[in-house]
């Protein structure tokens, strides 16, 4: 029960901030995909930068565990391409479709229904995928610091610098 309340409260904070950042809208999501409006990229990268520093700090203090998804090239690449095409048509991702509905953009409902159907279809074909696509290029639970053999703080610093340069360029171009 407590864990459900944590989920609800965390979601409310996140949904509130997503709405304040104006990233829930179709026009913003398509704006990013059409390279016209980088609001979403600014929001996401800012979240990643703060999250990255905080998570690695807590990990170094031994307070938390990382949750690493295993890398599977077949699933990641084919799935990523499909996700991108579908995202471009819908204009919302799974989390933002719930948030868009909260903002009154009720075309997100078509998206929510479609995503439920897509999930059901995936469950049907999962046994076949598991023995085919999902066996291609299994690299396990790898991370960039581990693959490059560098301290995670070097990667974190490099990511921060790269993101700040990108932000500076966005602002200069008025994106």
């Amino acid at each position: 029960m407590k864990v459900l309340i944590y989920g609800l409260v965390t979601g409310i904070f996140f949904g509130f901030l997503l709405q304040k950042g104006r990233v829930l809208r179709y026009d913003k999501q398509l704006g990013a995909l059409r390279l016209m409006d980088m609001t979403i990229v600014k929001f996401m990268l800012s979240t990643v930068l703060v999250g990255m520093v905080g998570i690695y700090l807590l990990k170094d203090m031994g307070l938390i565990k990382l949750s690493i998804k295993s890398t599977n090239l077949g699933g990641n690449i084919i799935g990523g391409l499909l996700f991108g095409a579908g995202w471009g048509l819908l204009g919302y991702c799974p989390g933002t479709s719930a948030g868009a509905l909260g903002e009154g953009r009720w075309d997100a409902l078509w998206g929510i229904i479609g995503m439920l159907v897509g999930a059901a279809i995936f469950a049907e074909v999962y046994p076949t995928l598991k023995t085919t696509v999902l066996t291609w290029g299994n690299l396990g639970e790898i991370t960039l610091p581990q693959v490059l053999g560098l301290s995670h703080w070097i990667i974190v610093a490099a990511m921060i610098v790269a993101a700040l340069v990108l932000f500076w360029w966005f602002e200069k171009k008025g994106l």
Partner: protein, 132 residues
């Protein structure tokens, strides 16, 4: 006035604060953010009403049990948080067609419904395949 109300916060600020919420969530509840697994669980719950035998047969629903968990409540919370934020800042808008869509594809609601539905099904299938 409408324009002033619709400016929102800097995406850098709102994004950075979201990063803080993520870090606190991992520290306090041990939970990282995600959304798409909840659609699998919901699909399983709905299918369970129609055909419980089918759900029991599918291996995918054994690993992603059809039930309400932390992430499901998190996704529901995103809906509520967005509702609270938009209603209290006069930026809530009951809208069937996004402006950009309407300008390009016209005012047919069914056209938007079909494209959004198909896009969503493909996007969710891809997200599950990619593991995200």
């Amino acid at each position: 006035m409408k324009y002033r109300a619709d400016v929102g916060w800097s995406p850098y600020l709102a994004g950075a604060l979201s990063g803080l919420v993520l870090v606190l969530s991992v520290l306090i509840a041990g939970k990282y953010f995600g959304a798409s697994t909840s659609f699998v669980r919901s699909a399983g719950m709905i299918e369970g009403l129609l055909s419980p035998d089918r759900v029991a047969q599918l291996a995918y629903f054994k690993s992603e049990t059809p039930k309400i968990d932390w992430q499901w409540m998190f996704v529901f919370g995103i809906f509520l948080g967005s509702l609270i934020s938009s209603v209290t800042s006069a930026s809530f808008r009951w809208q069937a067609l996004p402006d950009m869509w309407k300008n390009r594809f016209g005012s047919s609601i069914s056209r938007r419904a079909i494209v959004a539905f198909l896009g969503a099904a493909v996007a969710m299938f891809g997200a599950r395949l990619a593991g995200g």
